[in-house]
Each structure stands twice: as C-alpha cells, then as structure tokens.
Assembly symmetry: D2
Homo-oligomer: 344 residues x 4
Amino acid sequence: MIKVGIVGGTGYTGVELLRILANHPQVKVEVITSRSEEGIAVADMFPNLRGHFDLAFTVPDVERLAQCDVVFFATPHGVAMSLAPELIARGVKVIDLGADFRIKDVAVWEDWYKMSHTCPDLVAQAVYGLPEVNREAIASAQLIACAGCYPTATQLGFLPLLEAGLVDHRRLIADCKSGVSGAGRGASVGSLLCESSESFKAYGVAGHRHLPEIRQGLSLAAGKPVGLTFVPHLTPMIRGIHATLYATLKDPVDQGLQTLFAERYAHEPFVDVMPAGSHPETRSVKGSNVCRISVHRPQNDDTVVVLSVIDNLVKGASGQAVQIMNLMFERPENEGLQQVALMP
Amino acid sequence: MIKVGIVGGTGYTGVELLRILANHPQVKVEVITSRSEEGIAVADMFPNLRGHFDLAFTVPDVERLAQCDVVFFATPHGVAMSLAPELIARGVKVIDLGADFRIKDVAVWEDWYKMSHTCPDLVAQAVYGLPEVNREAIASAQLIACAGCYPTATQLGFLPLLEAGLVDHRRLIADCKSGVSGAGRGASVGSLLCESSESFKAYGVAGHRHLPEIRQGLSLAAGKPVGLTFVPHLTPMIRGIHATLYATLKDPVDQGLQTLFAERYAHEPFVDVMPAGSHPETRSVKGSNVCRISVHRPQNDDTVVVLSVIDNLVKGASGQAVQIMNLMFERPENEGLQQVALMP
Amino acid sequence: MIKVGIVGGTGYTGVELLRILANHPQVKVEVITSRSEEGIAVADMFPNLRGHFDLAFTVPDVERLAQCDVVFFATPHGVAMSLAPELIARGVKVIDLGADFRIKDVAVWEDWYKMSHTCPDLVAQAVYGLPEVNREAIASAQLIACAGCYPTATQLGFLPLLEAGLVDHRRLIADCKSGVSGAGRGASVGSLLCESSESFKAYGVAGHRHLPEIRQGLSLAAGKPVGLTFVPHLTPMIRGIHATLYATLKDPVDQGLQTLFAERYAHEPFVDVMPAGSHPETRSVKGSNVCRISVHRPQNDDTVVVLSVIDNLVKGASGQAVQIMNLMFERPENEGLQQVALMP
Amino acid sequence: MIKVGIVGGTGYTGVELLRILANHPQVKVEVITSRSEEGIAVADMFPNLRGHFDLAFTVPDVERLAQCDVVFFATPHGVAMSLAPELIARGVKVIDLGADFRIKDVAVWEDWYKMSHTCPDLVAQAVYGLPEVNREAIASAQLIACAGCYPTATQLGFLPLLEAGLVDHRRLIADCKSGVSGAGRGASVGSLLCESSESFKAYGVAGHRHLPEIRQGLSLAAGKPVGLTFVPHLTPMIRGIHATLYATLKDPVDQGLQTLFAERYAHEPFVDVMPAGSHPETRSVKGSNVCRISVHRPQNDDTVVVLSVIDNLVKGASGQAVQIMNLMFERPENEGLQQVALMP
C-alpha cells in the first residue's frame, strides 16, 4: 500500500483527492492536515466522505508527513516550498498541486506570484506534471509540479499543432471558460451563488498567473517562444473547463488535422480525441480524469479551432495528481481513475 | 459474469445503469434496447461512456433478452408488463425500474396509471424492491418492482416511526423536493433550463402517482391504513430528492428518536443516519447510492421532522436496482456501488 | 419629491431599493451610507445602476439623514435601533427592513437575537409593515418594522384560514424554501455557488429567528396563540420564496376555500389569488412586488395546502418597503412598483 | 397611442415584448397571434403577465393585423416574409425580430436558411435594425430587419475598431457565449435543464446562421470584406450574451482605444463603454436594453480584446425592437426601456 499524506485538505482539490483515493485499491491516506480544522473529522466536514474515511485533520507536522511514501500539497502557492525541501531531503516523494514549482524561470515566478521563492534549486529539480508531455521524467521524479487547470486544457489542445509546426506560433489565442470551483473554497463575494450564477464574465484579461505557465509549455512544444493571448472567463457552473483555442495555419491547404490529433493521443489513456465535427461538453468529463478534444477548421479557412474540455478538479488537479502518483509508484496509470463522468 | 440486458437505454435511468455497471466487476451488459436509437452506439449518444462500452442500441427482441441472466426495464409504465411475462417464463430474472408491478391492488394501479394491467398475476408474484424492508424476499425473487424515487426517500424516513408505532398514522405529511431529472429525458417545455432553473414550484398537489405507492408501503409498516398528504416540488437542480417529513408524536415526552433511527438502520449499507441536529444536503449523495437521514423535534414540541435525501437516479432508481441485482445473484450488496458522492 | 436616505446600501436589500427607486417618479435618493465603502460610487459597485444614480456611499451621519423625509434601514439587526431614536425625535419617518422592531415582546426578541434592545419604547410605537394586515396604521405611522421575507409569504398564505377560524390553530406547518439571496451578500462558504448550487437542504430546523415573528402574526390573526412548525430550506436559485403551508380543517366538508381567499385579497394590489388547481412558480414574481397564492385540498381530505410565492428581495423586503413608503406619503400604493416579473 | 400587433406571441421574444410593452406609456397591444394557443389568455400562459394584459391569442389574421400601426414578428424565419408584403402594402409598419430580411444577398440567405425567399424585393427595401449604425434610416423606414442577438453584441464591439481602420480586417475572431434562452422556447432535449445546466459547450463551429449577418455588418463598417471566425457557445444560464472579440492592431503603438470607444458611443443611450480595465458581467444588463463594452490590450501586445455583453432577449431582440419602434414613431428613444437590470 502507498502511504499518502495530504497537506491542505479542506480546499476543493483536497476533498477531491480524498474522493478519488477512497476507491484506489493501493492507497492508504495516513495524514491530512489543516491548521484551521485541527481535530475535525474529514467526514464531518465533507459528509460525502462519511463511511469512507476515519481520519481527522491535524496541523502540518514534518515528522508525521515524512513517514508517508508521498505527500500531496493541495495548498495555495507559497506553502509547498516551505515544507517540500525537508520532505525531499528525507526521500519522500512530493506532488505539488499548487504553483510553487511550475515556472522554471524563478524571476518570472516571483514577478507573477508577488513573493520571493525560498528554494529555487528545487524548481530546477522539479518535473512538470503533465503526463502527456513527459511521462518518463515523471516516473523517475521525486518532486512534481502538477500542471494547472487552464494550462492542462490549453496545452493538450495546442500541442499537436505546435509540435508539428503547422501553425503561426506568434499569434495563439486561448479563450478559456472555467466553472466557479476554480476559484477555490475560500469565502469571497465574487464566488457567491448570487454573484456568479446566471451571469458570465471575463476576468484577469490584463494578465492571469496561468499565462506564463501556458506560454512556457507551448514554447517548449514549439521549440521557440510563442505569442499567446489568454482570456479566462467565469462560467455559472461548479466544475469544468472549456478551452476554445485559435491558431492560424501556415499552410492553408493542410487537411490532416483530425489524423494529427488522433495519432498524437492514440496511446493516451486520458485524452479522447472526438470524431470530426464534435463539440465536447464539459459535463461529459464531470468527475472523470478525461480530457476530450475536437479540432475544427471553420469554413475551410486558415484558422484552426480546437475545443478542449476537462474537469478542473480532476484532470485539472487531483485526478492528474493521482495519475502522476500511479506513474511514480509503477502502478497502472488508470488505477483508481476509471470513474465514468456523471451525466446528467 | 452476470449477463445483463437493459430495455429502454436512452432515458436517464438507463444511462445511469450503464454508468454504474461500467465499474461493476461481475457484470457484462449484453443487450441494450431502444426503438428510436436502433444502431446508434451508446457511447455516441452518451459521450461520458466513451471508452467504457462498445455496444449499440437494438430493438427489443425477446430472444436476445432471454439469453441474459437478468433484464432491467428502464422504461415508462406499460412497457415492462408487455415483455416481462415471457422473460419470466423462460427463467430470466426481471428488475423493473418502472411502475408496472409496484401497486398490489391492480384496480388502484389502473385508476392512477390510466391503463388496464395486462398481467395482474405477476403483480402478486412481484417483490417490492426496497432492500431495507424486504431484503430476504428480494434475494429469492424472480421479478422485482423497484421502489420509486419519492417512495424510497419517504419510506426510509417514516419507517422507524411507523414500525415503532410512535406517531399518529392518520396525519402524515411528506413535503418532497426533486431535481429536474426526475421528469426524465423527454423533451418537454416544463423541463427546459429556461423554464425550470431560477424557479421553484409545487406540482401534482391534487394527486401524484407516487402517492398510492408511498401509502401502500407506509400502511404495511404501520400495520394499518395511513393518512398521507404528499406534495412534490420541482427544484432547480439536476439530481437529488429531499423529503421533509412531518408526523405527530403520540407521546410528547418520548426522547429516543435518534437512537430509534440509528438502531433501525445500524446494519444497512446504504442508509446513513446522521448525528442529531444534522441537515443532510442532497449534494452529499450526488452520484452515490446512499440515503442520508436526520430526525428532529423542533422546540421539543410533538411534531417530528425527518429529513431524508437521496440521488433520485441512484438510490431512487438505478443504484437501488443494482443493489437488488447484487442480492438476487448473491453478490456483496455494495459491489459496484461504493462511489463517493461528487462534492462540490 | 420625497427625500430618501438609505442606511446600509451595500447589501442585497439596499441595491434592490435603489433598483426600484430608480424608476419611482416621486423619489430622490439623497443619502446612501456604508462604512466599508465610503466614497465609492454606487454605480461603480453595482454596474446595473450605471446611468441611474450619481451618488456615492457615505458614512452614516445623523445630521444628513435627518434632512431626509424618510430613512430606510437595510441593515443587520442592531443597527436601526441605534440610529432610529434620534431620527424619530427629529420627525423623520423610519422604515426598518431589518428585525429590530418586529417582535412586540422585547424579552422574546432579546432571546432570539442574542442582544439587549436599546429602545424598547420604540418597539411599542413601531407598526408592523405588512400592508395586507394593517394598511391604515402604516399610513399614519412614523416607524415601520417591515415584515420579514418568510413571514410575508407565510402570513399571507395562512391569514384567510386563521381569520375565518377554519383550521386547527394548534398545528400549523410552514415548509418554506428560499433562494440564496436570503442569506445576504456577506461572504460565507455556505453561500458559495459551489456549495449551494446543485443541492437542496433544510436549515435551522431547531429554530429560526423568523419563527417568533410568524407566530406573533398568526396568533394575532387567529385571536389566540398558534402552534407552528417552521422549516426553512435553502434552494439553488438567487431569488424567490415558496411557502408550502399545511393546516387541518376543523370542518372537513367545507368547500369555499377558493372563494375565501379570493375575497380576502380582492382589493389587494399585490396579492394574486390564482385559479383553483394552480401551482404558482417563484419565477412568476421574480423582480416584482406580487405575492401569488393558490389553495388546495388534496384528495378532498381535511388537510389544506396553501402555496404562496414571493420575491424575497421585493415583496419580501425592498418592494414591500416602497409600498409602505407610498402609503406613508399618500402616494398611489403601486407607484414605482408595476414592474413585470422577468420570465424566462 | 401606438396600436401594436404581435405575430408569434408564445416564444421568448414574444413574451419579452409583452413584458416591455406593459410599461410603455404610449402603446396599446391590440392583437397577439399564435396558431397553437388560439383562445388562450396570454396571462394564463405567462403568469408574470397576470394583471397586465387582458388579451388572448388569436390565429394570424391580416385584416386584424392591418388595423395596427405596427406589427412585430417574433417568429422563426419564413413567417414574416409570408405576411409582411400585404401589411406593407396596406401601410402598416413591420418590425421583424426574425431573420427574413437581414441578409441583403438573397442567394446567401437562401443558402444559409435552406429555403427560397418569397419576397426578395422587400429585402432591398428593409432597413437593418441596429440604431447605433443607421438610426436615421430606421426612423423613416417601413420595414425593419432587427439585428440578431449575436450580431448585436459582436458588431457593437467591433465597430469602433473597423470604422477607424485600426485593425487587420482579414482576421477577426468572435468567441461568443449565449444563455440557453437563445435557443428559444421549443421543447428540445438539448435545452433541458438536465442537458444544459452544469455544462458548457461550443456549437455550430462549422457554420452558424449569424455568421453571414455579422460578416455583412462588419464588412460595411470596414468598407471591405472582412475575414471572421465566429464560435458560439451554450452557457448554463437563462439570459445573456458575452462576446469576447479579438483583433490585431495594425499599429502596435496605438494607445487611444479607450477614447475611441468612449467617443464612438458618447451619445448612444443604450451603449455603455465601461472604464478601462473593466470586465462587464452579463447580469449587469439582465432585463435591460443596455450593451456594456470594455476594451483591453493584454500585455500591451498587438491583440485587442473587446468584451461586449447584452441581454439576448432585450438589446438582442425585443428591447431593440421597441427602441426601433420609438424611433419610427418619433417617441423618445428610451421610452419604456429604462428598467434597471435585475442584480442579483
């Protein structure tokens, strides 16, 4: 059994980790931490877990965490970098669902996250957690920086085009829509049902923290710095991200886009390239670890439109983290992740 | 492996059966029928099933259904009674998620369902599918009439009080709220998002088809005919039933309600009696087969208030049907049913 | 023009007052206060008001408020009683949308609101703001305690039955459902879209602050103390209250319920008794000051079921307050209140 | 008083016309037609209209319609062109909310709408109903083809940039999101709450009927044929359209975008250019005739992002039609259209 610790168990990615791990045959959750809820049983706080976990929140304690085989950080940025170094030093594997180790250029990270990084050396060591890009590196890594939710949906949609060099890398547009759970479980007026339901809006148009992360990933795929406009939107639903991606074909007569995508992801257990002409719905992945993608070329013009959907809490966070754990511990990659999306 | 057939696979209870059975280790779905969708792959119609089923809808064919070990009817009333007799004659087990065999008094059934019953003899033979009431009879039955959604939530909430004879059986009130999926997948104006979201209303106050079913079950539990007022309401959400139940204590000084409920359901795998003072949320059972119940006595007055929540498509329909199948085939009762509710 | 002041303009009842008063031909809003938002233009905080108000929030200042003809308090309990006395002394009319002056028995108020009342004398002077009950007293009052949202829907539904003495006053049940806006604009986890959408739950079953208010009103109507069980529920929508009310007929043969209700409210501009057999939807009053009611007698049994719907922010709060202002200033009662509900 | 007739009163744009006209001081609705609901009172079908209209649906009758001053067609394409010619011949003004007269190139119209046009001559005579573009022509027109919902939001957002010639007209992208009411009141599975809530998807990527309409309007503004990629999305809410528009600046150093937009719409009663950096929410226009716009230049790059929101049933349909009627009858342009958006 894999002994698991979770730091920051009271947010949405924390409870989602518990939901998924509850049905993982090879995992035992040993520790779950929360400063604010110390002593509270997780099943009292999250009644959906009643009968699945007999575990209470404890304050973070490196001694106890160090006895786990792997520790997940489901925390705001800044927390993982404060605890990871000692866990790493003691040989514990660390999977950070937060942003601390995602950006290789520490100066860029500090600029966007408005704090100084306390362990830049680990940034270099960390492996970016997107199995469809670097499965092998993940399998042998000790520290993982899981891809963010928008970055997962956006990169999986753009990768085939950029790797094949088919589109103008200087002018990529990612118009992304996220459910409100992406804003987390913190009490904020903007996330109230009365403020965010029956409405739709863009936010962070001037600049969102996922922009540098997406740009870094796409530039690696393109082999050169890409130009990207990223506009996130708040959608009146709980879960789901829909990325609508626009790129300009260099060769307007190219016809093989469907095949390109199908072949790129032919062996990926969690990327589903849908038939030509499909419009993936976010609900088709609700609660599941799947990313569904379709590629279009409206009016046979030279603009390619890629539609990519994920559940921001699963493939965009906790499910991807479990997929990564499976790779790190040589388990079947889909173990504990075969749940069918809830539809309706 | 249990060879399963499903008649009427295009409605919400049909696709929910597929979602649940996809992860049942001992089940193989052999046949799924739909007159309207003949030849369509189930995964093309319900993309959440992509990668889980390689199966297409066929027109109902008794020959093919007769080769299954069990056939589920996820159909409107009137369908099961037309096909069940021959399947029963051939030794196939039949689990009807519809209403054809729920009411023992055929005249009452015909009065509420506005059609004549074509096999009243089978009504007598059919076992009412509510494991918490008649688990043994279910295990040895060949024909099951699964309890309806409102009837499941309402009976599980009232049973302890009526079996113990603690309340006035002549004046029971069930104020029930259901998500829109209870209205099914048929295209009707009333179920449009624009008609049913951001609004709340009662319906069928004059009389709802679940009234005689609930009354029959409660009268059996009370040992005498009960008086029941049942008011269903349409709630702006997809899944979930919340039953708010009112009864009058005969003995106002009685104090043991919490214990009564806890003991009644102590050994039930899918009934969760919550701590005193709890308010179960429907989302805490979304996608799971659990019924969560709490019992209250406001102001220490003589009115008992019971709160009972289920997912109408799971414990109220398809999950309960699989729980019943497990009993009929001597499988662990919770096999394939351990999914954790999706929250948030 | 009526010079209006609003204390507490940043909550939902405050912005709703502004929305309604923006189209009131005889009103000029002179002052709107908020300690937290001092100096912010109301139109910057609430963009729906852009172009309608050129007004900024100021800190509460009795001098400025005293120059208004009427001051609305759209504040949590405890605020109005701290400022009202001086305004009353200076001849300003005060309309409190909060709870400070609703309960005549100060000891009961202090018990439920957990604070001591600072001006019990004004409680005696205050007129309860429910025009359908005491229109004349309102017209000549200087201090109004507006009825709460649940109390408005519940009292309007029960009044005809109690005033006529047709039902058992000892066992009344009010099963009420409210949209999330009833919880206010404060940032709380429970009101997040991710916590309150796609779910339904009861709350405050042990005792809700509107219970004594409703009980007081119904006891006045019945001429004797009533017994009431009140169970509020949180519904996944922004606006609307649906009260489902249960009472037992003393004379089971009584047939004139529809006529009784129609006559009771025949001359009420904002109470719509719907045709027999109707099921009012909350959306049919969304944004309007109307209360729609239907009365049922299921199965011709002796239980009466009354369905009553309002918009909690309009007839349940700000609209009712404007209706009351019109009465106090001898304006047409429906002036500025003729907006049609938004449907869909 | 303006005598109004409405053809096709049972759809969402029809009931929305009634909601708006109910408070228009100079309008009397004389006739409202519906073949399916003949004889039904509008207030029985739409309870929000109870007390506002004493009018029943009748079958379309040219004689009766010809006695009106103006007839609105709130009908699917194909209906207006069958009745308009005779009404026009009799001197009645016609405002078509549908698509019959929007596309000047009849061949293009027939290609997209899959039917032959029965009065191409009237297409030439018809004035496109977008007051911000051709107010004067509207005032003197007899036949108006109201702009569609997506076309209104998209054109108002792009116009200042194209009229000023600041952007590359060959590569415009309109990523648009609409509430479900845009799909109309017809009973279709895709518009059920259970199918369209808690989900987000694109549709019609290969080609949507509003594409040629938008392209026609933008080409007129640019003075040359534009290249446009238009991707509509279905959003889980009732009302609202959010257009996110992308264009490439020819001159990357241009800085005056905010001023450009502010001046272009300085005298428009229903276009609100928001402060720099704003993110308009669709709810800020819910139920109102306003279009709110903000313009951004992320990272000071050469991609301009325009955000434009409307209520698809008001400024996108019925409100715009009333605004146009006011212009045609020399009434104040905002008469009957000053309602404040419902927020929350």
